[in-house]
């Protein structure tokens, strides 16, 4: 057990040693924690939101068929189903009705969807938690909507939704088909888009080609393309935050390098004393290793925990304008915690390891001096 006792004794001395230069070390830990906090906040956010997107799209149909007019998404005639359903290898296409409604009172965009199995009747709606929060609207309340022609339509809230992912449900309103068509003035012959389920994943490309051959005025969006868009959008946003914060990161590197790599005359003298009273070069290096490790691991853990609370409990409030600026996400939402161990360990190796090494190298140089230097 003497090996463990040796390390315990060295750590004990390291902690006393760090407390001697309290101000300097606390400042270092604070800056270090801030850097880890920024990097891991971005990392947690982008990872969690991409994961969230994949959950949302888990049960989504393999493809969505939209009509395009002058390069823009337009309403699709429901009769298009007739020809599409004749293609082999697909399930019955389904016409979807959905759209956005801007609520001037809350200053927010809501997503209105007509579900296939809407369990309430005409005049009823179910709303997401975000809408309930912003409008202070609860079950049994009446919510007014301004129709396309200026008419006021009052709908009764029958339920406040709380499914597993608030990302989609937050700004969501489930509505009956008739009410949807009344608000937006869409005739019975049209839908927003068509969804198509494909049995064999390998046939997706062939089916896409066949649909666009039958209806050249349509575009087919596959589930994979949507996932890729999520990835690209949030990687890009995360990248912007990291670029903006890179100034802070660089300042930290300079600060840490200066602190870790340069030994003061006092520290050099102490190393001389330790050697003179019987410490080996390796003992001094071990002690300095623990010093670097204590500072960097403490900051790393503190930064990660703060980032976890910031992203998953405080809705990434500090980076909100950059990370969340997207119309669908307009209402407040909280992410479900997801952490990728691979990303956390990458961050660990990019922060803790270089700092600890930077602490050891100058000490190694100082520790190789002759122990009799303190006697001269």
């Amino acid at each position: 057990m003497s090996y463990i006792d040796k390390h315990r004794n060295l750590i004990d001395f390291t902690l006393s040693s760090l407390l001697r230069r309290k101000g300097k070390n606390i400042a270092l830990i604070l800056v270090y924690t801030l850097v880890v906090f920024i990097l891991s906040s971005v990392m947690f956010f982008t990872h969690a939101i991409k994961k969230e997107a994949s959950i949302i799209l888990k049960d989504a149909p393999e493809m969505v068929v939209q009509r395009v007019v002058a390069g823009r998404h337009d309403l699709i005639p429901i009769r298009y189903i007739e020809k599409i359903k004749g293609i082999r290898g697909i399930g019955l296409p389904n016409a979807r009705l959905w759209g956005y409604y801007f609520d001037p009172i809350a200053g927010a965009n809501y997503t209105l969807i007509v579900p296939d199995d809407f369990q309430y009747g005409q005049g009823d709606i179910a709303i997401g938690k975000g809408i309930s929060r912003s409008r202070l609207a609860y079950e049994g309340d009446i919510m007014p909507f301004m129709a396309y022609d200026g008419a006021l339509i009052n709908l009764r809230i029958r339920n406040v939704l709380s499914p597993e992912s608030e990302l989609v449900s937050s700004d969501l309103i489930l509505i009956s088909e008739n009410d949807f068509r009344r608000i937006f003035g869409i005739s019975k012959e049209y839908a927003t888009d068509l969804t198509v389920k494909v049995r064999n994943q390998r046939e997706i490309n062939t089916i896409v080609r066949k649909i666009t051959e039958i209806y050249p005025d349509t575009r087919v969006i596959t589930k994979n393309e949507i996932l890729r868009t999520y990835d690209a959008v949030f990687n890009w946003r995360g990248g912007i935050v990291i670029v903006i914060m890179s100034g802070a990161v660089m300042a930290f590197i300079v600060f840490a390098w200066d602190k870790a790599s340069g030994l003061s005359a006092e520290e050099k003298k102490e190393i001389g004393i330790l050697k003179a009273i019987g410490w080996e070069t390796s003992d001094v290096i071990l002690m300095k290793f623990w010093e670097g490790a204590v500072v960097s691991v403490t900051s790393f853990i503190a930064g990660i925990i703060l980032a976890y609370f910031h992203v998953f409990f405080a809705s990434s409030s500090l980076f909100e304008p950059v990370l969340k600026g997207w119309s669908v996400l307009y209402p407040e939402f909280k992410l479900t915690p997801f952490i990728d161990p691979y990303q956390v360990s990458t961050l660990f190796f990019l922060t803790v390891v270089p700092y600890t090494v930077a602490t050891i190298i100058p000490s190694w140089r100082a520790a190789t001096i002759d122990p009799d230097s303190v006697m001269r």
Binding site: K6, N9, L10, F13, S16, E270, E280, P371
Partner: protein, 225 residues
């Protein structure tokens, strides 16, 4: 028993500032005695003590420590011998500021891998031996000159060495504290320790407790008393 055979030590060898500190010293030092190396500043006393205490290697010559040749040992073994055999009391005491007296005393034993609590107990007992256990938790910079001196002695004793090496221990002490120091030396001699002191303070080399005085001048043994 420590034996030095034709020890020479040259600093900055081959450079314009080459300096020969020890020029062929051969002598035997008896165990359980107090030996004082006396001589003016720059005579080579401290260098000789560093060589005897395995802190630095001689340029040539051999050192026998209890019939074991130690000059050619690698650093690792030399450090092991140094911390088990020698306890050092430095001219400036060289305590580490900002930590407690107790931690300073325990420091030489930390790398030995001894369990913390038995070590702490021994350190407190050592401090108690010098009547300063009440200062164990005080930071060393708060202590008086006499207390600092006793902490430095306690630190030299923590690994239970057989040889105590003191370099100009009274250089920064007043007469009263210097007498106190020599009383402690007398006590340690009574416990069977071998004590080597470098000093040009008459209060040290004229003390009754001293068994032998070796005069050093220009890096050589001038005379034995």
């Amino acid at each position: 028993m420590i034996e030095l055979i034709n020890i020479k030590k040259t600093f900055n060898a081959g450079r314009p500032n080459e300096f020969s500190a020890i020029n062929g010293v051969s002598l035997s030092i008896e165990a359980n005695k107090v030996t004082v190396f006396k001589g003016p500043s720059g005579s080579g006393k401290t260098t000789l003590l560093s060589i005897i205490g395995c802190m630095t290697r001689p340029t040539s010559g051999r050192i026998m420590l209890a019939d074991r040749e130690v000059t050619s040992l690698p650093e690792r073994f030399l450090t092991g011998i140094r911390r088990k055999t020698f306890g050092f009391i430095f001219q400036q005491f060289n305590l580490i500021k900002g930590i407690t007296a107790l931690e300073n005393v325990m420091l030489p034993a930390y790398p030995m891998g001894e369990a913390y609590y038995p070590l702490k107990k021994r350190a407190l007992e050592t401090l108690d031996m010098f009547n300063i256990s009440n200062k164990a938790l005080s930071k060393v910079e708060w202590l008086s000159g006499g207390e600092t001196q006793r902490i430095a002695i306690a630190r030299a004793l923590i690994n239970i060495p057989s040889v105590i090496i003191a370099d100009e221990p009274t250089a920064h002490l007043d007469t009263k504290l210097s007498h106190e120091f020599m009383d402690i030396i007398s006590m340690l001699k009574g416990e069977g320790k071998t004590i080597l002191i470098a000093s040009h303070d008459p209060l040290v080399y004229e003390s009754d407790v001293v068994d032998r005085i070796i005069n050093i001048r220009d890096g050589m043994v001038a005379e034995w008393v």
